[in-house]
């Protein structure tokens, strides 16, 4: 589906990453594979270090830490926030929504929209899309988009398929009205028949967590996992990405009448280095224009990975230049989504550690 937004802009991006770093090399012995095999995997996938939360730290903690950073540094005023949209798959509670927890703890005004969206790796463009739609309201002038996940707590320590790439984090994106008469182009697609490709089978209302759902079982690839753990069907996800994403971007750029060469950077979700390189090859885009270094440095934090890639790699560019940026997210749902945005110079663009 093609989407279009008029007179909206992003004015600042902050990323909050937990300080705790876990190294792939330190976890190799947890996996039922030869060391040489795991070292090859490390090289090709770009596994090395990832950031994870300490036990007890939640998504609201990460978001509140980042918002307080913005308040303290006069980068955002509490009273200016008209809506908070939180994209997460690891909420503090099943009920209420975590956006209310954040509002309550920060003592934000009552005249506020709070919205939680259950979306994963495609959740950055999906969250932006929701923020842009809210801004069509007369009384909504500033939306705070929060993307946050702590799925490292849901991967089995014996699952070499998912654990070495999973990281935690949060990002805050400020979205506002603009009068520059610009157009932002977007696409959203969904395929619920692929729901089981990326899933945490137990812990919801259908299959509540129990002693049975905590039992580790070995799969055909040699990974041990329980129903309470995150499961990724790697080959299906790979094929899904290689098939759908290039077509989506072709459609997006076609709709915007934008040539591939006019795009400064392709800021794509960061599942692993391998998949991004194959994607760049297939789309005939240079690796410089499509950064792929986030998993090896911080891990894949779901919908937060695009803000991490921006704030880590390109903060100088985003602060000092106008940029034509193509964003794409893809993953659980299955779902794939993209946006083409002309960025004005941002007011802030940085990455901080949660301490």
């Amino acid at each position: 589906m093609n989407l279009k937004y008029k007179n909206k802009k992003i004015t600042g991006i902050l990323t909050v990453l937990p300080e705790k770093e876990v190294k792939f090399d330190d976890e190799i012995d947890n996996y039922d594979f030869r060391r040489s095999q795991s070292m090859k995997l490390k090289l090709i996938m770009g596994y090395d270090k990832r950031r994870v939360v300490e036990p007890g730290i939640t998504v609201s903690d990460l978001c509140i830490y980042g918002l307080n950073h913005l308040f303290d540094n006069q980068l955002l005023k509490k009273e200016d926030i008209d809506a908070i949209v939180l994209v997460t798959q690891s909420p503090d509670y099943i009920m209420p929504g975590t956006s209310y927890i954040i509002q309550g703890k920060l003592n934000l005004k009552e005249d506020l929209v709070c919205l939680d969206i259950n979306s994963g790796c495609s959740g950055y463009p999906i969250g932006l899309s929701q923020a842009f739609m809210l801004l069509d309201q007369d009384e909504i002038n500033k939306v705070v988009l929060l993307n946050a996940d702590i799925l490292s707590t849901k991967v089995s320590i014996n699952d070499r398929g998912s654990r070495p790439l999973t990281g935690d984090g949060a990002s805050i994106t400020i979205v506002e009205k603009d009068n520059a008469n610009n157009t932002i182009y977007g696409t959203v697609n969904s395929d619920g028949q692929g729901a089981e490709c990326l899933i945490i089978p137990a812990g919801g209302f259908k299959t509540p967590s129990s002693s049975e759902t905590a039992v580790l079982e070995k799969d055909i690839n040699g990974n041990f996992r329980a129903l309470d753990h995150l499961y990724m069907k790697g080959d299906d996800v790979f094929n899904f990405v290689q098939t759908k994403v290039p077509l989506m971007i072709e459609k997006l750029l076609g709709n915007a009448e934008c040539n591939k060469n006019e795009v400064d950077y392709f800021m794509f979700h960061q599942p692993n280095k391998f998949i991004l390189k194959k994607l760049a090859d297939k789309m005939d885009i240079s690796y410089e224009k499509m950064p792929n270094n986030i998993v090896e440095k911080f891990g894949n934090s779901g919908s937060v990975s695009i803000p991490v890639a921006i704030t880590f790699n390109l903060s100088e560019e985003f602060l000092n230049q106008t940029l034509n940026i193509c964003i794409a997210g893809f993953g659980t749902g299955l779902s794939w989504s993209s946006m083409l945005i002309k960025f004005d110079k941002l007011d802030f663009c940085k990455l901080i550690d949660f301490k």
Binding site: Q37, K40, L41, G222, D235, F238, N239, F274, K278
Partner: protein, 71 residues
């Protein structure tokens, strides 16, 4: 176009292969190898494989047949 046999040998980390070799007999055989074969087929032959297709192929000849079937 890359040579099928030499590319598969490289993915399997051996010098030479026989078409009758069983895929699972290779020391390097694991989920990453499967992914590498999926990626090779996608980029080289525009063929989308699943890991089931690869398991069903059983041998290197079986893999090669998939290319023919998709032409």
């Amino acid at each position: 176009m890359k040579n099928f046999e030499s590319e598969i040998a490289e993915i399997l980390e051996v010098e030479t292969i026989n078409l009758s070799d069983e895929l699972e007999s290779f020391e390097a055989w694991d989920s990453l190898t499967v992914l590498s074969i999926i990626a090779f087929f996608d980029s080289e032959y525009k063929v989308t494989l699943s890991s089931e297709d690869i398991n069903n192929a059983e041998t290197i000849q079986g893999l090669k047949d998939i290319i023919k079937e998709n032409k």
